[in-house]
């Protein structure tokens, strides 16, 4: 009786998930979106628990308690750690899908239809490779592992050969589902491929990689839907898959790179030595000099980069925003799509520091405003401000969309030293006549600016 309601419950859950994502499109409705998403998940879990196939709740209860106990601290991490946290949760999601696929295989083999087995191998392949790849991404983001790309000879050949072997084993399993000895080999190949896939990828490419892994985890869940003939899983999984796909395309475009280039390109060591020969001079300034320019400005655009988050300077930046806003200065923040370590990361970091979101502007929107800005203040950003991307065909970042910081009347750059950024490229912005370099730790320098400006206003 109650079982006949289950399809309706699942249908309502699927509708809730679609509504959740739709409401997430704007800040005003986003929180409602999360709540309807929670309702959808509650329906899905509740509906499943009602199913007659479930004969015992004991281990389920244990798993609920364990999962909740780990899940809550993972939700309370600081915003700077959100990329790592996301990578880790991709790993958990993918592992769940892979383990269910493994269990289903051993329960059903060898009586599995071709199509079901095809979906099952896809679920297990994507699940296990995303599991280890996400753990590797977590390690790199947490800086347990070196963030520089690690390359060796014939790396791509080896990786592709391994993937080929895994796919071959999968095809074999589809043809002969009874070959139970092959299944662990297949799973092992997927696990190893996940590790090797991430080894050559550097820290700057993490936004793309995280998005791609997000997509894989979703597709793995969708494949599970085919195995279990469950439409709710297919819908939720493909929503996740398409979301990850869109985000990774946006990230690739923002860096002017292709998927293959991100996965097999190993960026970062190409041109490190080339620019060093030429000795050029920069204008360096103290926070007091810089404060003079800010005091005289009417329009200021702040360009925050990941360096700001590393220096934990976002709260000082908020104070600077407050001081300037109080003095009637129009302050905006220019956010490059790849600022931070995952899509949209910089927005969250600034929102956490209590900077109003209507002051945050995307690249397309803000670029036309730089020529009108009195001061562009670059804090911990580098490659995304390099004008070479527009005109220097020899530059490795040529063609990458950048923030047109160089068009502002005065450019100020807060930087620890003259070391080049992730791409290992010298930034010609620093050598312009209109550029002032303020050397030092971002937090200390911005703190100094705040003190100068606040002191000036008071006295």
């Amino acid at each position: 009786m109650i079982e006949s309601a289950i399809p309706v419950i699942y249908l309502a859950a699927a509708a809730s998930f679609i509504l959740a994502l739709k409401w997430l499109s704007a800040v005003a409705t986003a929180r409602r979106g999360v709540l309807v998403g929670v309702a959808g998940m509650a329906l899905a879990v509740g509906g499943t628990l009602l199913r007659p196939e479930i004969v015992s709740y004991r281990w389920i209860a244990v798993a609920f308690v364990a999962g909740t106990a780990i899940g809550i601290p993972m939700a309370l991490m600081p915003m700077t750690a959100v990329p790592q946290r996301t990578a880790l949760s991709h790993a958990f999601g993918a592992l769940a899908a892979a383990l269910v696929g493994t269990a289903e295989y051993y329960l059903r083999a060898p009586r599995i239809g071709r199509v079901t087995m095809g979906a099952l191998t896809l679920e297990v392949l994507l699940g296990f490779l995303t599991f280890t790849a996400s753990l590797m991404a977590f390690g790199k983001l947490q800086e347990i592992l070196p963030t520089r790309p690690i390359t060796y000879r014939n790396q791509n050949v080896l990786n592709l050969a391994l993937l080929g072997l895994a796919v071959g084993a999968g095809v074999w399993l589809v043809a002969r589902p009874g070959a139970t000895w092959l299944f662990p080999v297949f799973a092992g190949l997927a696990l190893v491929f996940g590790v090797l896939l991430i080894i050559p990828i550097g820290g700057a490419d993490m936004p793309t990689v995280i998005s791609l892994l997000n997509s894989y985890a979703g597709l793995s869940a969708a494949a599970m839907g085919f195995v279990l003939d469950n439409k709710l899983l297919i819908i939720a999984g493909s929503l996740d898959g398409s979301s990850g796909l869109i985000l990774s395309i946006i990230m690739c475009r923002a860096m002017n790179r292709s998927f293959t280039n991100v996965l097999f390109g190993a960026f970062g060591q190409v041109k490190a030595a080339a620019g060093a020969a030429e000795e050029r001079t920069v204008r360096s300034a103290t926070p007091a000099d810089a404060a003079e320019f800010l005091r005289a400005a009417e329009r200021v655009i702040v360009v925050p980069g990941y360096g700001m988050a590393v220096a934990q300077a976002q709260h000082k930046v908020r104070e600077l925003y407050d001081v300037l806003a109080k003095a009637g200065v129009d302050v905006k923040f220019a956010i490059h799509p790849v600022a931070g370590r995952m899509p949209g990361h910089m927005n969250v970091l600034l929102a956490e520091a209590d900077i109003p979101y209507d002051r945050l502007a995307e690249m397309e929107e803000i670029n036309s405003e730089f020529p009108m800005a009195d001061v562009a203040l670059v804090i911990g950003a580098n490659d995304v401000t390099n004008p070479a991307a527009r005109h220097d065909k020899a530059s490795p970042i040529y063609g990458m969309p950048i923030l047109d910081v160089d068009k502002a009347r005065t450019v100020m750059v807060i930087k620890r030293s003259m070391n080049p950024g992730f791409a290992g490229i010298d930034n010609e912005l620093y050598y312009m006549d209109r550029t002032l370099m303020v050397f030092g730790d971002a937090k200390a320098v911005v703190g100094g600016l705040v003190k100068e400006l606040a002191g000036g206003a008071g006295g």
């Binding site: 994502l21 704007a26 389920i60 439409k231």
Partner: protein, 98 residues
């Protein structure tokens, strides 16, 4: 191809296109919450995990299923909670802390 598989493929293709259309409209401002929300939603794998854990057909499947339920639960609890936490931080200028 059986009718069930055919129907499933239709559902998959339509849901993917729907997903692409909806997600394209999400403001880049909210891309991080978007990813944590889709991450929580993809914990829908919990449905399969619960069945495998609760059916108790074999020791292996019960163990694997239990681990899978725990993993999914981490993402459900952690994913929704952190998304909500993040969204609470977004405020407009001129408004105080919520």
């Amino acid at each position: 191809m059986t009718p069930e598989i055919e129907l499933s493929l239709y559902v998959f293709v339509l849901a993917t296109f729907l997903g692409l259309e909806i997600i394209r409209r999400v403001s880049p401002l909210l891309h991080t919450p978007l990813m944590s929300l889709t991450n929580a939603i993809s914990a829908i794998a919990v449905v399969g995990s619960l069945l495998v854990a609760g059916e108790q057909k074999s020791t292996l499947s019960t163990i694997l299923g239990t681990i899978a339920v725990a993993c999914s639960m981490i993402n459900i609890v952690g994913g929704y909670l952190i998304t909500y936490r993040m969204l609470r931080m977004f405020r407009k200028s001129g408004k105080g802390k919520p």
